[in-house]
Symmetry: C2
Amino acid sequence: MNKEIVLEKLAGGGITAVQGISAAAVNCGLKKEKDDLALVYSESAAAAAGLFTRNLVQAAPVQLCREVIANPVQAVVVNSGNANACTGAVGLENARKMAAAAAGALGLSPEQVLVCSTGVIGQQLPVEQVTAGLVRAAGSLSTEGSAGRRAAEAILTTDRTTKEAAYRGYYRGVPFHLAGMAKGSGMICPDMATMLAFLYTDLRASRALLQRLLREAVERSFNLITIDGDTSTNDTVLALANGAAPLEEVVEGSELAKALAEMLVELCQELAYQIVSDGEGATKVITLTVQGAPDAVAARILARAVLNSPLVKTAFYGEDANWGRIMAALGYAGVAFDPGKVDIFLGPLQVAAGGGAVDFSESEARTILQSREIAVRVALNAGPASLTAWGTDLSHEYVSINSHYRS
Amino acid sequence: MNKEIVLEKLAGGGITAVQGISAAAVNCGLKKEKDDLALVYSESAAAAAGLFTRNLVQAAPVQLCREVIANPVQAVVVNSGNANACTGAVGLENARKMAAAAAGALGLSPEQVLVCSTGVIGQQLPVEQVTAGLVRAAGSLSTEGSAGRRAAEAILTTDRTTKEAAYRGYYRGVPFHLAGMAKGSGMICPDMATMLAFLYTDLRASRALLQRLLREAVERSFNLITIDGDTSTNDTVLALANGAAPLEEVVEGSELAKALAEMLVELCQELAYQIVSDGEGATKVITLTVQGAPDAVAARILARAVLNSPLVKTAFYGEDANWGRIMAALGYAGVAFDPGKVDIFLGPLQVAAGGGAVDFSESEARTILQSREIAVRVALNAGPASLTAWGTDLSHEYVSINSHYRS
């Protein structure tokens, strides 16, 4: 990092740390009592970049975002409690009504508003409640940190904790910011941006540059986490750059571009880790490093096979050093390697060598497995590629949460 | 079916229903008290066909079976409690010692003995215990049904029930048989023959014909079931034809070949269904029919995505008519279709039409979902291919069983 630029993480910070960003949250009746509708407003028009679910079944708001995102954007609307997915033409019309209501209340045109939804699939939104809620939200926008926090709470579904992070940089002494909020704790799989995340910066950047930096950061963060291997119909990551900081535009190849790229990776990895930590029913976070894979694609496939295996995940839940299940998952991933060369480590403890058993201390293994954060390292000795990905265990609580979500 | 041939299912029958087949089981100390070692003997040499795991990590007995299976075979040895997988050169040597011990006790050569193992991965077998057990087993071989039943019990691991089925046919009044036993309740995924199954017939057939018929039957049975999406290192399906029935050889294109093909499909589907019914922690059996898929491969991929989705599986456990999760799973399967044309049915009850909600009776849905066997039908309206596959729900009990399997 160039010395002209200094970066710091803001403890407890959220999206309103970014200059020109205000937020509000209300309850509009989708949930019983909790806030279920967030509105985030940018004083100035922002370049917007986005990544969306690769699921063939795309929720109405995802379809609308894809239309709108090429425009400069000033507001983002998010409701929880209803995904507005599998809702057909009526659903798309409802998403448009949400954009129109927010635009009307804020003096914008509907093409400047992005809409996201998360929650139950297949039910129509009670759209009048939502649009009435948006009018109320527009009247209570605030740049306070508490307003950003409330917005971060309003976008949650089965999540237990809010996911926020904020960073400040100084370029030649002038401060600028990058901050974000996210939701997600189930239906998480690294096929894509697997949740909702909203990232803001007060730097000025072109949409094209922002999109490239966002894609790279997501590839190294949200696309490397998995909770249950399910891929949602609503996944969306949005990044908005509103230029509120009194700095020159961030251009390709500049020091500022490098700083923004680095901050984006850090923010996305931070939010991704928060999502995994709050994985449905998760009692453990598994940080899996695959080393010595034939290539990066192979490393990713292998990491996913291990982190998605119900048998591996239940073994971690049971704090059982059952490395044979890791070997089995690697073996069925569909990647060529020599099983006889695989070494497996739990933290610093080697539990398998050359694809077979080694003597290790079960008590030492148990101590490692009892901690909430477990580092697993698989050395394939089959090539130059390495990768770190994150996942969770599979607990009784996961089953409880998901067996009665809709009702 | 030609009238010259009559087929019937033998209630309560197992492998010893087949002429010339005797069985025995003993405890050799791999499990605390239960039988853990099965020996099945054929009076005459049998043509043997086999299908093995496609997992890159192949257990030692799988490697040995692949070597031996081209020979006429007279004995099959199976131990439970230890998979002899990820055990390197010592493991392969131990598998050979098992074959040699059985051969010695039965007056055969080791090349006439197939060996299978199932259980924990990554531990060396206490091979002297096993070979001593084989000598005892050889001394207690019996053609009684109870002996077949004991063998079927001895090959189980986390299974709660034995899996057996037997069929009798008459060709011009002469009886012949096909019977089998299987184990499997976790690490089940339709990538391949995903468990152990041992099929016997007293018909005479060439190895080539038997192999073709076995492959076709497995494709329509064991390869269409999934419990947890994990693929074992030890999966093996063996079919032995010993010619003990006083009938002409079964040749390609004959009536007998058609009868054997039909019986094999029926036997494999019966055993596959028994495996799914006994799926780890399963409280429901889901029979999923995918209709109107673009082609057979697509139908299979879609069925697997739905039946492997933890969110779909937990919804069934919770008896929740959450069809949106089925839509989401179809959508991320990686197959092209129009989500706006998908209809979904639970039993006779339509719960989604044109990819969206329809009004349906929640109480009727609940009644359907409360039964142990649930038929789900997904009509894609995207092509001519249809397929039925079988899976289970995901319960608290699955997590309990698998979190402490090794210890």
